[in-house]
Symmetry: C2
């Protein structure tokens, strides 16, 4: 497997594009994105578990009932959520897209991200559709990735090449993260494309299995969005023998998918609102996987630990505290904790009690941009990883007045 | 019932005091507090549910097994948690206190608050015990309240007078809150004294019942401390007929206790680390009390909403979002939301969708120091209230480098 360029256009038969249509006031920022497959594709998706669901998710769910889609339309600047006419707007977005591309409205995935409960009209999208269609190209992944960004500061895009039965396949994705990121069952907005041939059922199986260890292990601020969604379109243009059951091909596809999703998880966490650092908590020695996951996620969700990481302060008591209230059944007297980064590794706690360590070395390690928090529970063989970011002045600044 | 002065010394037979003994470097800040009852008192307590528990809690739990105590000793500046010699230190604190006061070590409540996992010696406490005993007085409540403060900026103290069977009784308390505040079954440090005669069993019943609606409905940052504890000492010196069962006297006592605890909850939330505003979420129309509580607590725990309140931004979509991911079973299409303060009340959401409102008026309301978030679920008759605070630059600043 190797990393390649092209993002969601790396897979054969996919084009993408993005434009500024006027939903956002800032004309410098694209606010509408489109992804198109030459041929109908198997489609799978996972959605937020928030009871308050964005209207676009409800429409997408209906459209994907047959496991087939051919295009993705997504706007930023307005979440189209808690609006009385939300469903109507989302359906109009599908109809406009379908009309422009000559496909069925039922083969369109629709998504929105931005402020919740803000009145929305279809006008800017209708006016911008011709330009959006014209923007479609094989090098348009970055434009689409920009079109779905809100407070994201970094474009999130990746693609890899892999083999299935001697055929070269490609899979790539773009993502939008930043704030209100604490996915559960699904996540933020992630659009993945592949030219591998995979049946809709196996594609859904691969996605549902993957997100449990990837997007559901990311948290920026503990807030589960109303509009989280991950979709995968697989158009089969690589020519591999279609994957219709588990086996070596499915495993190879899962591995390629996981490479894409883990990369996007790290990008989303590291570019959390206001973040200066990516935090990765690796839990080992757990009695079972749920325990490892609960502990890892509790640690990266602690506001106190996140603030300490911002200050490069090796305040490991907050790691122990977060493990203690996580709800996981652990023996606190067996816990070891260490901090690591490319500047080195330092043990700070053994058997639940502090050990002498160099504050100077710890500061050096924690001043890096990617920090690993290593937790050994010493009670079994299960492990898990969770990703988060530090809590900074800028998180408060961005969210103190997000709407203006 | 009326509010009176005196804090934990308002009840007959109680004295209190506080000194700087040297656990903290800052000599201007008291770091050791003592509360003493002339006679042995009924005692009740609730403790943190964090699996990592401070050594003082374990010693206190043992000492209160017989439902009787006569003194409370508490230091700030070191949590005496995750230290290999923690139990030893906590027991020495009881012995030194008992020796100074001429009581049994088993009648001492011991507590600590500060950094977790910091080595601690008994030396400053041993050296300061004579001065601490000498500081005991009937006007010493404020000194004790200062002695237990960490990053608290405001002293938290209250007392009320009430009647039981024609006898005037008093109940008062002091509290330490600030950060790592998200109690569960118990909370931060709160010491309450009363001269009402109440059996240990009824005192525990009153406390355990009360905290479910008071301290357990407070959150500053979602982090449940390792050292949370609330204790009540009832020395009976008011001369009322002892409360040994439910009835009118127990109800009157519960009401007085609740007045003290709600006041302290509001003080703790409003003085959360870095806070500029007290947030109170009132949920009504829930189908049952657990639903109302879950919704209220989810709203005041949302980092996004907390940051919006800091910025006086009426971003009500974040209220809906927090209700949606709370796990409570609610009909989102029935939810009404309004913001209120002493500057007025403004409806922002009805039946789950936005309504037109004056942003100017909303800003005026949200600029006040005490904000009410009013949520009507319109699905029943149950209600609940939760208290929190805004998320500010100062929270990040304080916790980015707490240990130095």
């Amino acid at each position: 497997m190797k990393t390649i360029s092209g993002g969601v256009c790396a897979a054969k038969g996919f084009t993408a594009g993005g434009v500024h249509c006027g939903i956002r006031k800032n004309r410098e920022k694209k606010d509408l994105a489109l992804i198109f497959s030459q041929v109908p594709a198997s489609a799978a998706a996972v959605y937020t578990t928030n009871l308050v669901k964005g209207a676009p998710l409800l429409v997408t769910k209906k459209n994907l009932a047959d496991g087939v889609a051919q295009a993705v339309i997504c706007n930023s600047g307005n979440a189209n959520t808690c609006n009385a006419n939300g469903i109507e707007i989302a359906e109009q977005m599908c109809e406009l897209t379908a009309g422009a591309l000559g496909i069925s409205p039922a083969d369109v995935v629709v998504a929105s991200t931005g402020v919740i409960g803000q009145p929305m009209t279809i006008d800017p999208i209708a006016a911008g559709m011709a330009a959006l269609k014209a923007s479609l190209s094989e090098t348009g992944s970055a434009d689409a990735a920009e079109g779905i960004m809100t407070t994201d500061t970094k474009l999130k895009e990746i693609a890899v090449e892999f083999e299935l039965g001697g055929k070269t396949c490609r899979i790539g994705g773009i993502a939008k993260g930043s704030g209100m990121i604490h996915p559960n069952m699904a996540t933020m907005l992630v659009f993945i494309t592949t030219d591998a041939a995979v049946s809709p059922a196996m594609l859904q199986k691969a996605l549902s299995s993957d997100i449990a260890d990837t997007f559901n292990m990311v948290s920026v601020d503990g807030d589960t969005s109303t509009n989280d969604m991950v979709t995968v379109l697989a158009n089969g243009m690589a020519g591999n023998a279609p994957i219709t059951e588990e086996g070596a091909d499915f495993a190879a596809f899962m591995q390629a998918l996981n490479t894409v999703t883990v990369y996007l998880c790290r990008r989303i966490a590291g570019d959390g609102e206001g973040a200066t650092k990516l935090l990765e908590c690796q839990v080992t020695g757990a009695k079972d996987t749920p325990t490892a996951k609960t502990v890892a996620k509790s640690v990266i969700c602690s506001s106190l630990l996140k603030a300490a990481m911002f200050g490069a302060d090796a305040n490991w008591g907050r790691v122990l505290c977060a493990i203690g209230y996580s709800g996981a059944d652990v023996d606190v007297n067996k816990i070891d904790v260490a901090f690591a980064s490319k500047a080195g590794t330092i043990a700070v706690c053994q058997n639940g009690s502090g050990v002498d360590f160099s504050e100077e070395k710890a500061k050096e390690i924690l001043t890096e941009e990617e920090i690993e928090i290593l937790v050994s529970l010493n009670s079994g063989a299960a492990s898990a990883t969770a990703w988060g970011c530090d809590l900074t002045y800028d998180y408060v600044k961005i969210n103190g007045d997000y709407r203006t």
